[in-house]
Assembly symmetry: C2
Homo-oligomer: 206 residues x 2
C-alpha cells in the first residue's frame, strides 16, 4: 500500500523550516536549497510544493500568523492579567518564540529593500493588526464601548509597543530577558487601559 | 598647489552614502562597489578609506549615532513638550529621517543572521541607550530625582516605544504618517511621566 502523504502538513513543515532558516541566516542568505536541506528534502521536492522562495516566505508568514492567532486564542482569558498573558505569547520569551520574533524582525528589516515583500506586507500588516484587534476585544470587552478614536489609539500604541519590545529583545537578548519583557508590557497595558477609561469618560461628558 | 582633501569629511560622506544604500537595498545586497558608485568614487578610492564593508557599516553606525545626538541636543528644551520635540527628531517623520530609521530597521533585522554585526551591536546598543538616557536627564531634569528603578524602567519603556514606532512606520509608512507617530509618542510620554511621578512618590512614602 503506498504511503499517504499529507500535503498540507508537508507545506507547513517546509514553511516552518523556512521561518527558522530566515530567522537564522536572514532573508538574502536563506536559499531554497538550504531550506530544503534543513527540512530533510531535496530541492526538487520543495519545488513540487512551492514555485519560488517568495512563495515559501508567504507560506511562512501565513503559518506564523496562524500560530500566533492560535496561541492568542488559547491563552487563558479575563481582565488585564488575561491580556498580559495572551500578548506575552507573542513576545520572544523562549527559544520557540525568539525564532518567530527574529523572523518578524528580519522581515521588517527587509521590507525597504524588497519591493515584492513590500507588496506582501500590505496583506501581512492588515492580518497582524486584525489579530491584535481581536485580542483586545476579547480580553478587554470593555474596550468595545470606548469611542472608536480611543480604541484605535490604544490598539496602535499596543502594536507599536509589542513591535518595539520584539525588535529590542531580538537585537539585544541579554538586555531583555523574558521577565523584563513581560514587566514592561504589563506597565504599558496598565497605563494604556487607565488612559482609555478616562479618555472614554471624558468624551462622554463632552 | 595640490588640492587639500578633508579625509575625515570624505569618510563621513562615504558612510552616509552607505547608510542610504543599506536603507534602500538591505545589508546583504549593498556592496562596496555599489556604495562607491553612489558616492561618485571608484571602488579603489573607497578601499583607501575602509578595509571592508564591515568597516563602512561601523562608520555609518557611528555617523548616525552622532547625527542623532546632535539633533537631540539641538532641539529646543524644557518640560514635556521639549522631550516630545527632541525625540520626534529620531522618528521617521521626513525623508531624511526615514532613511536613517530604515537603516536601523535593516540593522536590527540583520543582527540574528550576522555574527559580526551582533558583536558590533553590543557597542551600538550601549551608545544608543546612553543617548536616550542623556535626553531624558536633560529634558526631564526631575527624572534625576526618581528612584533608579523607576528611572530605568521609564528609560527602557521609552526606548522600546521609540523602536516600535520606528519599525512600524518604516514597514508600514502609509499607516504611520508623521502626525500619527508624534501623537502616539506624546501619549506614551504623558503616561510614562505620570506613572514615574506617582511611583516615585509611593517609594518615598514606603
Amino acid at each position: 500500500m503506498p504511503k499517504r502523504v499529507d500535503h498540507a502538513r508537508r507545506r507547513d513543515e517546509i514553511a516552518l523550516v523556512a521561518c527558522r532558516a530566515i530567522a537564522q541566516h536572514g532573508f538574502a542568505r536563506a536559499t531554497v536549497a538550504q531550506i530544503a536541506r534543513a527540512a530533510g528534502y531535496t530541492t526538487g521536492m520543495v519545488a513540487y510544493y512551492f514555485d519560488s522562495k517568495q512563495e515559501i516566505i508567504l507560506a511562512a508568514l501565513r503559518l506564523i500568523l496562524k500560530r500566533m492567532d492560535q496561541r492568542l486564542q488559547r491563552a487563558p482569558g479575563a481582565a488585564r492579567a488575561g491580556l498580559l498573558d495572551v500578548l506575552s505569547e507573542a513576545l520572544p520569551i523562549d527559544g520557540h518564540r525568539r525564532t518567530e520574533c527574529a523572523f518578524w524582525t528580519a522581515f521588517w528589516g527587509q521590507l525597504a529593500a524588497d519591493p515584492q515583500l513590500k507588496r506582501l506586507n500590505a496583506w501581512v500588516h492588515r492580518e497582524y493588526r486584525k489579530l491584535f484587534e481581536r485580542c483586545l476585544a476579547e480580553q478587554w470587552p470593555e474596550s468595545l464601548a470606548w469611542p472608536t478614536a480611543v480604541r484605535q489609539q490604544a490598539l496602535r500604541s499596543l502594536i507599536a509597543f509589542m513591535n518595539g519590545v520584539t525588535t529590542s529583545a531580538v537585537s539585544s537578548p541579554r538586555d531583555w530577558p523574558a521577565r523584563t519583557q513581560v514587566r514592561q508590557l504589563d506597565l504599558h497595558l496598565t497605563l494604556l487601559r487607565d488612559w482609555a477609561r478616562s479618555a472614554s469618560r471624558q468624551s462622554l461628558m463632552e
